[in-house]
Amino acid sequence: AQSVTQLDSQVPVFEEAPVELRCNYSSSVSVYLFWYVQYPNQGLQLLLKYLSGSTLVKGINGFEAEFNKSQTSFHLRKPSVHISDTAEYFCAVSDYNQGGKLIFGQGTELSVKP
């Protein structure tokens, strides 16, 4: 069965610093990878997704992620964070053969300090 591991449960960072949120998934023949963001007391919003093609994926709010098949990783990066990026970030994998079921990682709480 598919699984997703987010290696850091909490990432504190100062405003305007770069950040990387790490995500590894268990290997499969074909997977689709997603990063979602959850602001306090809200639903989830898609940041970006990888379905195929270029391994570097750009998303909203200046985020990007790189799909690395050999390392089964899909790390999320932003070169300069803002206070407003403070939120919970979820990495997820979807196996097309499992009816679109999203399997989520445990989440990483990004805390941006002034």
Binding site: Y96, G99, G100, K101
Partner: protein
């Protein structure tokens, strides 16, 4: 013009009661989902429906019964509520299995 809406936003009830959560999407999507987020923020799929047909049922207790009266609605009925059912329940929808899932704002269920 909310894409995926859920009602109610908050639900507080006693153990043993029966309650329902409603979900509606106006995106014209074919597939809808229910996810449960526990107190540690872990998200796990419960059900998915495609064109009113059950596709995924993730070993959820049969006290939970989803109902899809039409493509735009997927309601969740819970019988004999237990303390462990306390969580945030999210509805989502997508056009196809590989497409972006759009999430509702969530329903926070508290069982006393």
């Amino acid at each position: 013009d909310t894409a995926v809406s859920q009602t109610p936003k908050y639900l507080v009830t006693q153990m043993g009661n029966d309650k329902s959560i409603k979900c509606e999407q106006n995106l014209g999507h074919d597939t809808m989902y229910w996810y449960k987020q526990d107190s540690k923020k872990f998200l796990k799929i419960m059900f998915s429906y495609n064109n009113k047909e059950l596709i995924i049922n993730e070993t959820v207790p049969n006290r939970f019964s989803p109902k899809s009266p039409d493509k735009a609605h997927l309601n969740l009925h819970i019988n004999s509520l237990e303390l462990g059912d306390s969580a945030v329940y999210f509805c989502a929808s997508s056009q196809g299995f590989a497409d972006t899932q759009y999430f509702g704002p969530g329903t926070r269920l508290t069982v006393l």
